[in-house]
Symmetry: C2
DNA sequence: CTCTATGCTACATAAAGGGTAGCAATATGC
DNA sequence: GCATATTGCTACCCTTTATGTAGCATAGAG
């Protein structure tokens, strides 16, 4: 089980929030977490849910997310780890907020 | 006061959460919001706080954030709009979570 | 042995990001 | 007035990241 990598783009401190910003600031990361919310799904199924993101990128992100202990591959496909579930719960809050924001 | 742009990378639906993911999924966006948390700051001051991010990029992001009604330029420098403050409150939650996550 | 679905990789092109220099405008000191 | 400093910001060029298409190797079903 890998620790959060200390190497972070644009920050030398290695503070957890910077690691997280670096992770979530990569395109598709949040979207991928989001699209797992209804349960585990296969690689190809996940691709479809993500507007046919390229498999190259999907694999890159999944690799990182697995190293970060947020996603894991089980028999049923890709799904959350307990940590991933927690993080996605926060994304759900962003969803709620975004609806209010868009209605401004 | 601009509405959230409907054109979103990687999603044709234009749902608010996708707009938000698109915005936050750009490098430095969350970091910039984060670094404003202690009050308004000048363009150059903001650059320094953001590990000397290039002015090109900072300006691009600030432009978008202003269009999105999250950040504004006042006498004291760049600072939050009320919406920006709300969003940053959510980022604060991510901060708290990231500390727990990093300690796993 | 074919047919299908799986996770995943190679490769070439397009888009986004990054670093340095410096401009125009405004305020400040002398 | 005139130099100095600070402001927000742009131009330019190069590197990194993302995207799109094709297809491989493996596993299971019929």
């Amino acid at each position: 089980m890998a620790k959060a990598k200390t190497r972070v783009r644009g920050s030398s401190t290695g503070r957890p929030i910077m690691v997280l910003f670096d992770l979530l600031g990569q395109r598709w990361t949040m979207r991928i977490l989001w699209e797992l919310r209804e349960g585990a799904v296969t690689f190809r199924g996940l691709r479809e849910r993500c507007d046919d993101v390229s498999p190259t990128l999907l694999n890159q992100r999944l690799k990182t997310l697995r190293e970060m202990d947020l996603v894991e591959l089980t028999e049923g496909g890709y799904g959350y780890t307990p940590w991933g579930k927690q993080l996605t719960a926060e994304l759900m809050r962003l969803h709620a907020w975004s609806e209010r924001w868009a209605a401004r």
